[in-house]
C-alpha cells in the first residue's frame, strides 16, 4: 500500500511537536497536500505523553550512548541535480536522565502493563539507534547552494532536534510510508472506571502496581497548562480542533511560604471564602487585582515605578507581605529580582483575564496529558487529507546551533497531595520561589488521577525550571525534598503532618530551543523553516505564535486554521474534481476517499 501513496507533496512537515502539528493542520486545512513524518514511533516529540512503560522505553533510549551515525544508502538515491541536507538522527535534546524508584520493587520484575500491546513502543519500529535508516527523504531539489552532506561535520552544524517544516515545493524521494493510525496505544487509555484496582489508602503502593496500571494514564514530557484565554485555546476553538480533546480546569493555585503550602486566593470567590485573609486584606487584594485588570487605563498608579522591579512596586501598594508574596509568585508568577513593574502588571492582568472563563482558576489541563494536543492537530491535518508516517527518520542536512538553554524537569509519582482538601481530585499549580537569590523559581503542577495522568490513589507531579546547575536533579532535588518524603523513610515517620510520599522520580534536562531561529543556521534552503521544541514557559503562546508565523510565510494569502465548514454545508466531492491541484492522483487512495473513513482510521 505504501508505495501507492503520492510521491509528491506541497508541504512536508518533519516532527510532530506542537508547532509542527499546528502547521501541518493549517496547511492541510488550506488545501495543501501534506506529508507529516516523525522519526519516532510516537506523536509529539518532546511534547509527547507516554504510558508508564512507554516512558520507561523512552528513558532507556536516552540513557543509552549515542553510537554514531549511519550514513550510506540514501545518498545513492539522490539524483545528480539534487542535493541532500542531512539531519542528525540521534536526538540530543534530552540529557541527564535519572530515574529513582522509591516504591517497593520486591515483587517480580516481569510485571507488564495490563493489556499492553508491546512492552516497548519503540521496539515495534526501527527507531533504535543502531538500526540502519529505513527511510529517507531527499529534499530541496533545486537548491544549489546547499553544502554537501556532512562535508563539515562539526557538531555545531548538525540538527539533532530541530523539527523542520519544509515549504511550498514538491519534493521527490522514495518514501516508505504507511498510513499509521494516530496512536497505537490509545486503546489502553480508557477512562479509569470502577473496575480499576482501587489502591486503598493504607495499602502500600508498589512499583509493580504502577507498572501494572501503567496503561491507564499518560505522563507528559513537557509540563504546561493552557491559559483559558491564551492563543492555544483560541486556536483550538476557532479551528474546532477542541472537539478532539477534553479538558479539566486546574482547581487550585498554591503558594509556598515559610515551608508551608497554602492555597492562594485569586478569584473573587476564593477571596470571599478565604479564612486566612483578614477583611482588610481581602479588600486590598481585590482592589489591587481589579486595578491590574485595566492598569493601562490608570497610568498614574504605576508610572513612577516603571523603572523598579515588580516586587518593589508591590511593596508600595498597601499589600501585606503575605499578599505581595501571593501576587508576585503565584499570580504573576514572576521573578522577585528581575521582573519589571510593567511586565509584572501584564502577567497579573493576563492571569486575571483568564480567570472565570472556565472556572475559578485561569488554567486548563488536557485529559490524558499535554501530548494530546499535537495529536489533535495531526488529526485535523489527516481529516483534511494529510499523510502520516511515524518511525520514519528523515535524513537531510541542516545545521544545528547549540542552544545553551536547558530546562530542568522532574516527573514524580506521589501518594497524596501537597495540600490536602475535601476532594482528592485537585489539579494544582504551585510556584516555589527561589531559595537563594539568583536561582530560579520552580513550577510544580500536581495532577490527580481524573486527569488520566496517574493511577488512582496517586498523584503525578511535574517540576519545571530553567536549568542553572549541571543536571536536572541538582536543580530540582532540593524542592522535591522540601515537598515530599522518599517512600522508604516514610515508614519511620509520624503518620500525622506527614508530607506526601515519593514513589518514583524521573529527572531529565530538555533543551530549550525557543531562541533558535532559522537565521542561526547557515545555508538553509529558502523553503525550509525551523520550529522550536517546548520552551520553559507555562503556556503554549510561543508554539502557536511560531506556527502561525511560519504558516504565513508558507501560505501568505491563506487564513490560518479557519473554522471547519458546517457539516451540513459539506458536499462530498468523490470525483476528485479539484482544479487547482495538479498533483498526480494515486490510483489506490481509498483510505482517504471520504471523511468518514478517514475518521475511522484515526479513531482513537
Amino acid at each position: 500500500m505504501a508505495d501507492k501513496l503520492p510521491s509528491e507533496f506541497d508541504v512536508v512537515v518533519i516532527g510532530t511537536g506542537l508547532p509542527e502539528s499546528i502547521i501541518a493542520a493549517a496547511c492541510s486545512r488550506s488545501g495543501q497536500s501534506v506529508l507529516h513524518v516523525d522519526s519516532r514511533s510516537y506523536y509529539g516529540g518532546n511534547w509527547a505523553s507516554f504510558s508508564f512503560s512507554g516512558l520507561l522505553s523512552w528513558i532507556k533510549e536516552y540513557q543509552e550512548e549515542n553510537n554514531g551515525e549511519e550514513w550510506t544508502a540514501w545518498q545513492e538515491l539522490i539524483l545528480e541535480t539534487e542535493e541532500g541536507v542531512a539531519l542528525r538522527k540521534k536526538d540530543q535534546t534530552i540529557q541527564h536522565v535519572e530515574v529513582i524508584c522509591y516504591a517497593s520493587q520486591d515483587s517480580d520484575e516481569h510485571v507488564e502493563e495490563v493489556g499492553a500491546v508491546q512492552k516497548n513502543p519503540g521496539s515495534v519500529t526501527s527507531a533504535s539507534t543502531n538500526d540502519p535508516p529505513d527511510s529517507m527523504v531527499t529534499a530541496c531539489s533545486d537548491t544549489s547552494e546547499l553544502t554537501t552532506p556532512l562535508s563539515e561535520p562539526e557538531a555545531a552544524r548538525e540538527v539533532p532536534d530541530v523539527d523542520v517544516t519544509l515549504g511550498n515545493e514538491n519534493h521527490g524521494g522514495d518514501t516508505d510510508c504507511s498510513q499509521s493510525p494516530l496512536e497505537q496505544e490509545k486503546a489502553g487509555n480508557l477512562p479509569v472506571g470502577e473496575d480499576v484496582v482501587d489502591a486503598p489508602k493504607k495499602n502500600r503502593i508498589t512499583y509493580s502496581q504502577i507498572v501494572k496500571e501503567g496503561r491507564r494514564f499518560n505522563i507528559d514530557l513537557t509540563s504546561k497548562l493552557l491559559y483559558s484565554r491564551g492563543l492555544l485555546i483560541d486556536l483550538l476553538i476557532k479551528s474546532n480542533v477542541s472537539r478532539y480533546a477534553e479538558f479539566k480546569n486546574v482547581t487550585r493555585i498554591l503558594g509556598y511560604q515559610e515551608g508551608n503550602v497554602l492555597q492562594v486566593p485569586c478569584s473573587r470567590a476564593d477571596v470571599f471564602n478565604s479564612k486566612k485573609l483578614t477583611m482588610v486584606e481581602k479588600r486590598m487584594l481585590m482592589k489591587f487585582l481589579t486595578f491590574c485588570l485595566d492598569y493601562e487605563q490608570q497610568p498614574d498608579e504605576y508610572k513612577a515605578y516603571e523603572e523598579c522591579t515588580f516586587s518593589e512596586y508591590l511593596k508600595t501598594q498597601k499589600l501585606t507581605p503575605n499578599l505581595q508574596h501571593f501576587v508576585l509568585h503565584s499570580i504573576a508568577m514572576t521573578s522577585e529580582e528581575s521582573t519589571s513593574t510593567l511586565d509584572g502588571l501584564r502577567e497579573t492582568q493576563n492571569f486575571l483575564r483568564c480567570l472565570g472563563r472556565y472556572g475559578n482558576t485561569p488554567f486548563l489541563f488536557p485529559l490524558y496529558g499535554q501530548g494530546e494536543l499535537p495529536q489533535c492537530f495531526c488529526r485535523m491535518c489527516a481529516v483534511f487529507g494529510g499523510t502520516y508516517c511515524l518511525s520514519h527518520a528523515v535524513q537531510c542536512l541542516v545545521v544545528d546551533k547549540e542552544s545553551g538553554k536547558q530546562i530542568s524537569r522532574a516527573v514524580l509519582i506521589t501518594d497524596q497531595s501537597v495540600l490536602k482538601a475535601d476532594s482528592d481530585q485537585q489539579i494544582s499549580i504551585l510556584t516555589v520561589p527561589p531559595v537563594e537569590p539568583g536561582s530560579e523559581a520552580v513550577r510544580v503542577v500536581e495532577l490527580c488521577s481524573s486527569t488520566m495522568t496517574c493511577m488512582k490513589g496517586t498523584y503525578l507531579v511535574h517540576l519545571t525550571c530553567p536549568s542553572s546547575k549541571k543536571t536536572a536533579r541538582e536543580d530540582l532535588e532540593s524542592v522535591v525534598q522540601k515537598l515530599f518524603t522518599p517512600y522508604a523513610e516514610a515508614e519511620l515517620e509520624n503518620e500525622e503532618l506527614k508530607k506526601p510520599n515519593l514513589l518514583w522520580a524521573l529527572y531529565f534536562n530538555m533543551r530549550d530551543s525557543s531562541d533558535i531561529s532559522r537565521e542561526c543556521y547557515n545555508d538553509l534552503p529558502s523553503n525550509v523553516y525551523v520550529c522550536c521544541g517546548p520552551d520553559g514557559f507555562l503556556g503554549n503562546k510561543n508554539a502557536v505564535k511560531q506556527a502561525e508565523a511560519l504558516f504565513r510565510l508558507i501560505l501568505p494569502n491563506e487564513e490560518f486554521c479557519p473554522p471547519p465548514p458546517n457539516p451540513e454545508d459539506i458536499v462530498f466531492d468523490g470525483d476528485g474534481l479539484q482544479p487547482e491541484l495538479s498533483s498526480p492522483k494515486p490510483e489506490d487512495a481509498k483510505e482517504i476517499t471520504d471523511q468518514g473513513e478517514v475518521e475511522e482510521c484515526l479513531e482513537k
Binding site: 479588600r283 459539506i570 462530498f572 470525483d575
Partner: protein, 565 residues
C-alpha cells in the same frame, strides 16, 4: 483531488436556510391549528399531548398549550387505569425536563412541573431536589429554579438546615446571588425556635453574628455588589411590628374619639372590625378618616353622642378593641380631653430591637464599615450602611455624625440625592419626635432642618404647636390632617404650593404660610374646613401679587378673622 471537501456557497446556504425555516413555520402552524381544533371539539386525548409536545419542545413559552396539556392530563386521569396514567406522568416529567434544557427560564414549564408534582400521590421529591441542584449549577441565579426549589423543599419538608447548607454552597461559588441570600433570610428564622418573648422573624445572637461575618466577607471582597448589602440590611432590620393601637384620644369639646393604629387600615364591616365600649357597653359609631377619604389610614375617628359625656359622672371609660389588641382611656370629670398612648421612646419605634449584646455586635459592625469606608471613601453602600448602623445604635448620640455622612453620601451618589434628602428628613423627624417625647411636651419645632418631606405624622396626634418654617417643603400633605390637636402651625419660608393636609383640623387657630409659592387663592380651599382658623398669614406669596386676591380669599374663607397678604 479525491475526497476533498467542498463547501456550499453563501447563496446556497441562505437558500437552504430559508427553505428550512419555511418548512418549520408550516409545521408549526399546522400543529397549532390542529391542537385548537381538537380542543374546541373537546377531543382531549394523547394526540393532543403529542401535538403540543412538538411545539412546546421548540417554544416552551406558549402558555395556552400548557393549559391544553393540563386539561388532557386531568381528563386522562379519570379515564386511564392507574398504571397507564403513571406511565403518562413519567413521560410528562421527562418531557418537562427536556423543555427546561431548551429554556431553563420558562415560566410555563416550571409552573407546569409545580402543578404536576402537586397532583402526584407519591412524588419523588429527592429527584426534584436533584434536578434543582443541577439547574442551579448551570446558572446559580436562575430564580425560576430557586422558586421551584422552595416549593419542593416546602412540600418535601426538607429541614431548613439542609437547605441552608445548600445556599452556603452556592454563595461560596458566587456570592452575587440575591436568590440565595433571600432564601437564607427565609430559612434562618426557622432554624431554631426562639423563646416566646421574642417577636417572630428575629434571629438568635449566635446565628446573627455568623451571618454578619459572612456578609462582611462579601462586601469587603466586592463592596460594589449590592446583593450582600441588601442582605446585610435585612440582618440589621427589625421584624414587622405587631399590630397595636398606638394612641386613643377623646375630646369633650369636639365630642370626638380619635384612634391611631400601628399600620394604615380601613375600618369598616368586613374589612377591619373595631369595637368601642363606652363605660363598658358597646357603642355603635360611624368611623371616618381625618381627610374624609375611605382609604387605608393610620388615624380613624368617630363622633360620640352627647350622652356619653355628661359631666355628672366622675369619669367615663372608652375601651377600644381591634382584633386581639385593645386600649383604654378614661376621661375624668372636668377634663376637656384625655388620651392613652404608646410612647415612641419606650417602644423604640424607630430602631431595631437590640439586646445589649446585639449593640456590641452593631458597634463592631460599625467599626468594620468605617474601616471599609477608609479604603473605599466613595462607596455609597458602605456610607449608607454606616448611617443605618448609627441610627440602630443610637439615633440621638450619632445625630451629628449621621448628618455628616449624609453629605458625603450625596456627593458619592448624586443620582439619588432626592431620595437621600427624604431619608435624612425622615431620620431628623424621628429624632425630634424622640426629643419631644423625652421633654414631655406637645410642641414640636422643626424649623431650619432642610426637611424635604414630612414623615411619621401619625406620631403627632397630640401635638398642639408645630413649626415647620424654613425648610424645603413643597406641600402640606394630606397626612397632616392626622394632627387633630394642632392649634398653631407655622410653615413660613418653604416652597409650599398646596395645603391639602390642612383640612378638618378642629382646633387650628393660626396658620402662617409667609414666603411660600402659593400661586392662587383657590389652593387655600381646604382651609375652609378648619372651623377655628382665625389668623392666616400669606405675606410674600405669588398670590399676593393678584389684585383680586384679598377679595377672593374673603369669599373663600369667610370665617377667618384676619388674612394677612
Amino acid at each position: 483531488m479525491h475526497g476533498r471537501l467542498k463547501v456550499k456557497t453563501t447563496e446556497e446556504q441562505a437558500e437552504a436556510k430559508r427553505a428550512e425555516r419555511e418548512q418549520k413555520l408550516k409545521l408549526y402552524r399546522e400543529a397549532t391549528e390542529a391542537i385548537f381544533q381538537k380542543r374546541q371539539e373537546g377531543q382531549l386525548d394523547e394526540s393532543v399531548l403529542e401535538l403540543t409536545s412538538q411545539i412546546l419542545g421548540a417554544n416552551p413559552d406558549f402558555a395556552t398549550l400548557w393549559n391544553c396539556r393540563r386539561e388532557v392530563l386531568m381528563r386522562l386521569e379519570t379515564q386511564k387505569p392507574p398504571e397507564e396514567f403513571a406511565a403518562l406522568v413519567a413521560a410528562e416529567l421527562g418531557f418537562l425536563e427536556s423543555c427546561l434544557r431548551v429554556n431553563p427560564k420558562s415560566y410555563g414549564t416550571w409552573h407546569h412541573r409545580c402543578w404536576l408534582l402537586g397532583r402526584l400521590p407519591e412524588p419523588n421529591w429527592a429527584r426534584e431536589l436533584e434536578l434543582c441542584a443541577k439547574f442551579l449549577e448551570a446558572d446559580e441565579r436562575n430564580f425560576h429554579c430557586w422558586d421551584y426549589r422552595r416549593f419542593v423543599a416546602q412540600r418535601a419538608a426538607v429541614p431548613p438546615a439542609e437547605e441552608l447548607a445548600f445556599t452556603d454552597s452556592l454563595i461560596t461559588r458566587n456570592f452575587s446571588n440575591y436568590s440565595s441570600w433571600h432564601y437564607r433570610s427565609c430559612l434562618l428564622p426557622k432554624l431554631q425556635p426562639l423563646p416566646d418573648a421574642q417577636p417572630p422573624g428575629r434571629l438568635p445572637e449566635d446565628i446573627l453574628l455568623r451571618e454578619l461575618e459572612l456578609v462582611q466577607n462579601a462586601f469587603f471582597t466586592d463592596p460594589n455588589d449590592q446583593s450582600a448589602w441588601f442582605y446585610h440590611r435585612w440582618l440589621l432590620g427589625r421584624a414587622d411590628p405587631q399590630d397595636a393601637i398606638r394612641c386613643l384620644h377623646v375630646s369633650r369639646n369636639e365630642a370626638c374619639l380619635t384612634v391611631c393604629f400601628s399600620r394604615p387600615i380601613i375600618v369598616g364591616p368586613g374589612i377591619e372590625t373595631v369595637m368601642l365600649l363606652v363605660d363598658e357597653s358597646p357603642l355603635p359609631v360611624e368611623w371616618r378618616t381625618p381627610d374624609g377619604k375611605k382609604r387605608p389610614n393610620h388615624v380613624w375617628l368617630c363622633d360620640l353622642p352627647a350622652d356619653s359625656f355628661n359631666d355628672q359622672d366622675s369619669q367615663h371609660s372608652f375601651f377600644l378593641m381591634w382584633g386581639d389588641v385593645q386600649k383604654e382611656c378614661v376621661l375624668y370629670k372636668g377634663r376637656k380631653e384625655s388620651w392613652c398612648r404608646d410612647s415612641a421612646t419606650d417602644e423604640q419605634l424607630f430602631r431595631t430591637e437590640l439586646s445589649v449584646e446585639k449593640s456590641t455586635v452593631l458597634q463592631s459592625e460599625l467599626e468594620s464599615c468605617k474601616e471599609l469606608q477608609d479604603l473605599e471613601p466613595d462607596n455609597k453602600w458602605c456610607l449608607l450602611t454606616i448611617i443605618l448602623l448609627m441610627r440602630a445604635l443610637d439615633p440621638l448620640v450619632y445625630e451629628k455624625d449621621t448628618l455628616k455622612y449624609f453629605q458625603t453620601l450625596k456627593v458619592a451618589d448624586p443620582m439619588r440625592a432626592s431620595y437621600l434628602d427624604d431619608l435624612r428628613s425622615k431620620f431628623l423627624m424621628e429624632n425630634h419626635i424622640l426629643k419631644m417625647e423625652y421633654a414631655e411636651v406637645r410642641v414640636l419645632d422643626l424649623s431650619y432642618k432642610d426637611l424635604t418631606v414630612l414623615c411619621h405624622l401619625d406620631q403627632l396626634l397630640l401635638v398642639t404647636h408645630l413649626n415647620l418654617s424654613h425648610n424645603l417643603l413643597r406641600s402640606l400633605p394630606p397626612a397632616l390632617a392626622m394632627l387633630r390637636c394642632l392649634e398653631v402651625l407655622q410653615a413660613d419660608g418653604n416652597a409650599i404650593e398646596t395645603v391639602e393636609g390642612v383640612v378638618n383640623l378642629p382646633r387650628l387657630r393660626e396658620l402662617s404660610l409667609c414666603d411660600n409659592c402659593l400661586q392662587h387663592p383657590s389652593v387655600l380651599q381646604p382651609l375652609a374646613s378648619c372651623p377655628k382658623l382665625s389668623l392666616l398669614s400669606l405675606e410674600r406669596n405669588p398670590l399676593c401679587q393678584l389684585e383680586a386676591a384679598p377679595e377672593e380669599l374673603r369669599v373663600l374663607l369667610p370665617d377667618v378673622d384676619r388674612i394677612l397678604t
